[in-house]
Symmetry: C2
Subunit: 173 residues, 2 copies
DNA sequence: GGATGGTATTTCAGGCTTGAAGTTTTAGGC
DNA sequence: GCCTAAAACTTCAAGCCTGAAATACCATCC
């Protein structure tokens, strides 16, 4: 660490400030898009984002997941997952299956109805995202994915968010 | 619109899929960082993210803002802002000021105490962000800001999020 | 084989957010 | 000057989420 002369200190400060600006823009884009998805999911699909998210991680794992695995991948509390799965089960979209060797746990799997419903939702969601990100071309998208991968790597490695390493495949709408 | 031959259709589909992947990574980074900020703000500063956000938009506008302007910039409901400002006022960090020509409205301004508290919080927050985005160099940061600006532009222009054009300066932690 | 500690899940109280009234006030047409 | 529509704000019920118990169960160490 030899950032000991003035020029370097100034560069550090400028970079820090620019990173902050980046965070503000990252945060704004994500929340505008997420709010819009939430709204459309309610309005057009009579569903919710948390329910979609749970269905997404289940759909990605045909053998089903334990409650704890779901809450780890989505980074929400275990109690929250209980409620969401309860509702999915009530609607016949998911069901709990006993785990042979562990009577504490249960696996959650999508029913056929749940798989069908999710397939429809997933297609609609992709078209929404494609619309909202419509003015980013392939270069833009690749460039951002490259950087976000590095960022996510660091976030997973550092203490924070360390529980969610595996949740990238289908974890968020 | 002449994406009528197979090759182009295939490219469109691939781009759509890649945009979806980008969204998932965007969403994950933003939520990991935001959750961590929320946690640290509680743990280390005895504050909350919504309160910080309100103070941020107020600090950026020394003349103060109306309730409605705050809720527009932060994209939260008016009722929510009422509650947050109530709490800030209780703690002496902000106060409501009557608007001369409109007895329905009130301007909200930070008190001196509020300005001081925000200055401290803002510095800490910048260091946190600088830490969390630490493995992105200046090229990365600039590259992402460039693209996010275009994205935010499109999001503001389209119907969704149209209320929040001006909230980019200091609007989100 | 019983105690001890840890794991999987649920329950629940408390806080945050929204959306839908409700109140007061302003603005515009007539 | 009224009357209607709309705006600014507040209140409130309902839903979501968290974190902290509580419950039930597994596993390990003596």
């Amino acid at each position: 660490m030899d950032s000991s002369d003035e020029a370097t200190l100034h560069q550090d400060a400028a970079l820090s400030r620019t990173r902050l600006v980046l965070w503000q823009k990252l945060q704004k884009s994500a929340s505008v898009i997420e709010d819009e998805l939430r709204r459309r999911l309610r309005r057009d699909c009579d569903s919710t984002l948390p329910r979609f998210d749970v269905m997404a991680v289940l759909d990605a794992t045909p053998d089903g997941l334990r409650m704890r695995e779901i809450s780890d991948r989505l980074r929400v509390s275990a109690g929250n997952v209980t409620g969401i799965v309860d509702k999915l089960a009530q609607e016949g979209l998911a069901k709990r299956v006993a785990v042979p060797d562990d009577r504490r746990a249960s696996r959650v799997v999508l029913t056929e109805k749940g798989q069908g419903a999710f397939a429809v939702l997933a297609r609609i969601r992709e078209s929404w995202i494609n619309e909202m990100l419509g003015n980013l071309n392939l270069d833009d998208v690749d460039g951002m994915i490259l950087r976000l991968d590095r960022l996510i790597d660091a976030l997973d490695t550092d203490e924070f968010g360390a529980l969610a390493q595996k949740g990238t495949e289908n974890g968020g709408i």
